[in-house]
C-alpha cells in the first residue's frame, strides 16, 4: 500500500493506493468457474496516534488497485499514519507512513 499524507493548514490530506485485484463475483466465475473465488477488500481503516481517522466498509465494485483520498483535522507533521485493509479471504495488510 502506498500512502501519502500531507499537512496543509490544519487539514491533513491523505492519498492511499492499495494493491489488490478486487475480483468481483462475475469476474471470478468467468476466470475460475466459481463465484466463491471472488476476493476484494472488505474493510479499510487508517489510524494516527492510535486514533481512527478513516474507516470504510467496501464492496467488490471499487476499481482494481483502488485509490482512497480523504482528509481529516487534528494531525501534526511527523505523526505516524497507519493503514490496514482486510479482504474477503481474511488477508490483511498494514502499512505505515509519516505526515509531511
Amino acid at each position: 500500500m502506498k500512502i501519502k499524507a500531507k499537512l496543509k493548514g490544519d487539514i491533513v490530506k491523505v492519498k492511499a493506493l492499495a494493491k489488490h485485484d478486487m475480483m468481483t463475483y462475475n469476474q471470478a466465475e468467468k476466470k475460475t468457474g466459481d463465484r466463491n473465488n471472488a476476493n476484494f477488500i472488505t474493510h479499510i481503516s487508517a489510524t494516527v496516534n492510535g486514533k481512527v481517522v478513516f474507516d470504510a466498509s467496501t464492496s467488490q465494485f471499487l476499481s482494481k488497485n483502488p485509490i482512497f483520498k480523504f482528509q481529516f483535522k487534528g494531525g501534526a507533521k511527523g505523526d505516524k499514519i497507519e493503514m490496514t485493509w482486510v479482504d474477503k479471504k481474511g488477508n490483511t495488510k498494514t502499512d505505515k507512513s509519516k505526515i509531511k
Binding site: 469476474q27 489510524t47 470504510a56 466498509s57 467496501t58 464492496s59 471499487l62 476499481s63
Partner: protein, 150 residues
Amino acid sequence: MLRRNFLKVGALAAASAVVVPQLNATDFRATKPDTWSAHTVEDAIKGLYGAITPIESGVTVGAPKVASNGGAIPVNVKSDIDAKTVAVFQDANPEAAVIVFEMNEGSILNYDIKMKMGASGTITAIVEGKDGKFYKGSKTLEVALGGCEG
C-alpha cells in the same frame, strides 16, 4: 529454548495489543449484511438505514459525465453536513452497494474513490447526519466501456 518461547509469547501479545484500537470501527459488512447483497439502490439503502426519506440537498457527487474506462471511475463525495456515516451506491452493477464510510472525530466529508461500473448508470450517495436526518446526492453518467467483467 525457554527464552525463545518466552519471546514468541511476547510477540504474540504485542501483536494482539496493536490490533485492538481498530476494533472501535464498525464493520458494516458484518452488522448490515443485507446491504451488500441487495440488487437495487432502494433495497441497499433499506438494508443499511431502514425505511428513510432522504432530503435531496447538501451532498455533491462528482464524477465525469462520460467515463471512458468503467473499470476505474473517479468519484468524489463532498458535503458540509455534520455526518455520522456516508454510503455510496450505484445502479449499473449486479449489486448496489459500493462503500460505506464511518466518520470520526476530525474527519472531513470529502472522499475520493475509484470504482467500477458495468454500464451507464446513476451513483447515489446517502449522508447520515448527526441530526438524525438523511441527505442524498446523485450523479448520472455514461460509461463508454463497462469495467465489471474484464
